[in-house]
């Protein structure tokens, strides 16, 4: 049982609400006194994940477990899945449509950013069923 267990629904196709979950987690970590670097890493990784779910998967769910030495983030969607995960992890690779690019996203940096800012990142994806991204940030590790 974690110190703090949080659950969020990430609405699909609504860019105006993307960032609510990561913003709330950031706020809570701040109040709990986590160091700024760890808060920043969690917030960036989670926001990129939220944006991915909005762009590609019609939304999804985020579950966050907060402990003193570990922030555990689980993002689950029932979108189209990722056919080639290793390709999707390459910086610059993107399948985002033009309207998303005009908003300032879709440059193929989301997944690489998520990996860069976390201490552990695992992707499980089944085409036609959905994608699960598990990320862990250990405060005091890595650093940006």
């Amino acid at each position: 049982m974690s110190m703090l267990h949080l659950h969020y629904d990430v609405p699909g196709d609504d860019f105006t609400r993307a960032g609510e979950a990561s913003g709330d987690v950031k706020h809570k970590l701040k109040r709990l006194g986590y160091e700024p670097d760890a808060i920043r890493r969690v917030a960036i990784a989670m926001y990129e994940g939220e944006i991915n779910m909005v762009i590609h998967a019609g939304g999804g769910e985020a579950t966050v477990d907060i402990d003193p030495d570990k922030v555990d983030i689980l993002l689950q969607d029932h979108g189209p899945g990722i056919a080639d995960v290793s390709k999707a992890m390459q910086a610059g690779w993107s399948t985002a449509p033009d309207n998303v690019r005009s908003l300032g996203f879709g440059a193929g940096m989301g997944l690489p950013n998520m990996k860069k800012y976390t201490d552990l990142m695992e992707i499980q994806s089944v085409v036609g069923e959905g994608t699960t991204v598990h990320m862990v940030v250990n405060p005091g590790q890595k650093g940006s």
Partner: protein, 111 residues
């Protein structure tokens, strides 16, 4: 120097987020690609961009930048204005381009 003081010196006009205008400016970041900015802008930067959408406000909040300056009179959309107000993120506008605005910032920070 606060972003409010810098804005007054540079002639930027406040569009939203007055509550946050006491934030200290310690540097500058320039960019429009949000994933790029999110990974590189740091706390205390004044962020120069032309992206005036709600996601830009979210990126500003997540990175703790001092505020946003929308250069070349780039528009701030209504959802973004509301979010900036709610989160107290100062958003300014100015007619100068990114380079000219960066020079203004440098002049203020480094005299």
């Amino acid at each position: 120097m606060t972003i409010q003081e810098m804005a007054a010196a540079c002639g930027w006009r406040l569009l939203a987020g007055e509550e946050g205008t006491g934030a200290q400016v310690e540097g500058c970041y320039i960019g429009d690609l949000l994933s790029w900015v999110m990974a590189r802008a740091i706390s205390g930067n004044v962020w120069l961009t032309v992206m005036g959408n709600v996601n830009a406000i979210a990126v500003a909040a997540l990175t703790d930048v001092a505020g946003i300056v929308l250069c070349e009179d780039a528009a701030l959309d209504e959802a973004a204005r509301a979010r900036a107000e709610l989160q107290g993120i100062p958003v300014y506008t100015c007619p100068a381009n990114l380079y000219e605005t960066a020079l203004q910032v440098a002049g203020q920070l480094h005299g």
